[in-house]
Assembly symmetry: C2
Homo-oligomer: 436 residues x 2
């Protein structure tokens, strides 16, 4: 099947809609099992954790051994390549700096009627971070999930990770140390999320849970939402690239495959105004896959969900991109800011020919946890806000009470809430003011 | 059963924990039915809406009559008390002003390594607002849910409300008009939420859904979360009041009952350092209930969940309040800012003797949609943010690429993602730079 679509073709909009909508997200049957796991951990605490870990992970947990202590963390640091440690440290510094700038600001003012108004942001007490094992065990994700919490000022950071193959990937614990996480437990799966939400002595509960995971972990996060905050409901991820014909086809092919190699339902779409260039990119993608230049998942996701779309003018690609509301949007042109200013929906925009998504995945500074599957229409990437909460502030003396109190009494009365009305009216009367 | 607890009593902490935890939230069996309703609307659109409205609301919906047009809205405006319209207009002006100030700001800067970084906020395209019928039909809620979306710059605001008894409460449509909502449909229940999330021609889908509702509506919002954004998962609400003995017991009693009259599981707790004052407040509450000075729900919720707690010093009340993480906290003392500065968790703080929650419920300016049931530990009230999303921005020239590219290549390689590494390394090589 050809992956080159012409936006001017009569059936294009039908094809394009199908391309955006065919990636499956739901996994049937997971929710019922995960719901049982959560109830079990809520009811039986650590006993349930131990039973579930034995059953699902074939791993014996005890309250004494569940915590991964400083000795194991230091050993992991020592086992890592020095260059990787240096790269993680540079990444951590840049990510922390970006997220410190993203701390929301407090405000306080007096209004014209004499009321003092405002708000203040404070960090949550404790944040939990899930770090998956296996395929998706990325030290960069540890940094991206932990450092916004650090920037927020969260005092207690807890990491949960499946213990079975942790020794194969020492960079996970190294990243945790570099990010300043000092409470790490070797627990994986939905039960780890349940323990974070409800506690499982010696594991104390947290307030917000972040971090990627498989369908079990994601479903558990969705189910505990409301008891705790969660970072997002994540689905298959995607990159859209808008590129003119003056790019190197091999470089744009690498960019498309960098997304495609994430997993079998990842989506990479190139929009270009140069059909010949698009054709060369397709060839470069095929060559790179054939030569093993991309991870094995790319050979599944690219043929299934990848495409090169030829538009008359690059500006036409903006509307098509907005229709998909991509997680990542690269704009590889000489004046990327112009096209970017027209974009309505994107989790992150990468501006210019030298700015691939991969830099953002690791160490540009912005977060790589971003709204997927069209959710950038309404959702934002993980940031410092997620680990803070806002308290609104309101205070008034008699002037403000006199100015707005009678209208408050009128509204309370109209809503049939007499104690609301009395709460304002009694204060007006005590001050010798007319409540009507 | 006495409602006066001494914080110094040996069994106090057990009693207090029970007081905070006994309010039920879950309604068994709702989720399965709501899930079916949502699937039905998703599959059959307006046909499902019509069938469900006939079955649950005994109301015949047609595509031609589902929309509540300008004539009905203007008739409702005319049917309202002039004083109520004026009060709604004052409230709308104040709420809009507060939420315009709360618009998050964009940022863009160059960092030391030559990267251009930043973010920008944009409004969602469309927001949906649910306005319940029956007991909870409050025009103030229409303002509080719609005006943050207006402040965000949302172009399309859609309101759904059960049509059956709308004519009894013209202030609902008046508030919608004052808030600038111009697309209103007479649909209630879980099916209204499903129509907002998935569309039901002629009702186009929205991006974010806000607004209060019963267990069916709340469950539907939770289930569509992820497809669209939702304002919050709300539970039973509460007020905590910290007051010294120099307040008028009748006024503090009215404040407690203003919360208690909301519903049968509302909670009102007074903390005071003056036991005699606490006793007088209890008597004033009983008298006010006996005289019909509070709505009928107060007679259920106050005996079940209300309390006066006597502390040695008012500062001790702050830690107890944080344990409950209340939705609303009133501080009725001469120096409320001092105690407020010590508070870690509260959705909204009302400062001073003249600042009852009721002013905030209607027209102080901050939102009255706030995190309930202890959720102020991690969640914030409804605000302008909820109707906007952030796009992160990153761009670099060759200097920035040279500065951070090699570390990116090292991390991609360590994570086993060759196309990620190639995406950076090919750019470095093309510029004559060393990717290692």
């Amino acid at each position: 099947m050809t992956r080159l679509l012409l936006a001017s073709a009569p059936d294009f909009s039908t094809h394009y809609r199908a391309l955006l909508q065919t990636r499956g997200e739901a996994v049937d049957g997971v929710e019922a099992v995960v719901s049982q796991i959560i109830q079990d951990v809520k009811a039986r605490g650590f006993h349930a954790l131990a039973d579930l870990s034995a059953r699902f992970d074939n791993f014996a947990l005890t309250p004494e051994t569940v915590r991964i202590g400083p000795a194991a963390v230091n050993a992991a640091m020592a086992a890592c390549d020095r260059q990787v440690i240096a790269a993680l440290e540079l990444a951590a510094e840049r990510i922390l700096d970006y997220h410190l700038r993203a701390r929301p600001e407090d405000a306080r003012w007096q209004d014209g009627q004499g009321l003092s108004l405002g708000w203040r942001w404070t960090p949550v007490d404790a944040a939990g971070l899930y770090a998956p094992g296996g395929l998706a065990a990325y030290p960069s994700s540890v940094l991206m999930n932990a450092l916004p919490a650090k920037a927020a000022g969260v005092q207690r950071l807890v990491m949960m990770t499946p213990p079975a193959r942790l020794h194969e990937n020492p960079a996970i614990l190294a990243a945790a140390k570099i990010a300043g996480i000092d409470e790490i437990y070797g627990v994986g799966g939905a039960q780890a999320i349940a323990a974070l939400a409800y506690g499982a002595d010696p594991i104390a509960p947290v307030d917000v849970i972040a971090g990627p995971g498989n369908a079990w972990v994601s479903t558990a996060k969705k189910l505990v939402f409301g008891t705790v905050g969660i970072d997002s409901v994540a689905g298959p991820s995607e990159v859209f690239i808008i590129a003119d014909g003056r790019n190197d086809p091999a470089i744009i092919a690498a960019d498309l495959l960098a997304q495609a190699e994430h997993d079998a339902v990842a989506q990479s779409i190139l929009f270009t105004d140069d059909a010949a260039f698009g054709q060369r990119v397709l060839e470069a993608v095929d060559l790179m896959i054939a030569q093993g230049g991309a991870g094995p998942e790319a050979a599944k996701s690219w043929p299934a969900y990848g495409a090169v779309i030829v538009v008359d003018q690059l500006v036409d690609a903006v509307a098509l991109s907005d229709q998909g509301a991509p997680e990542h949007l690269q704009i590889a042109t000489d004046d990327p800011d112009h096209l970017a200013s027209l974009v309505r929906h994107a989790g992150a925009i990468f501006l210019g020919r030298h700015s691939p998504e991969a830099l953002g995945d690791y160490l540009a500074g912005p977060n790589h946890v971003l709204p997927t599957g069209g959710r950038s229409r309404w959702a934002s990437g993980l940031s410092t806000h997620m680990f803070m909460k806002r308290t609104t502030l309101m205070g008034t003396g008699l002037d403000g009470l006199a100015a707005i109190g009678p209208a408050g009494v009128a509204l309370a009365t109209a809503e049939g809430l007499p104690a609301h009305a009395a709460s304002i009216a009694l204060r007006l009367k005590a001050a010798g003011l007319d409540p009507a």
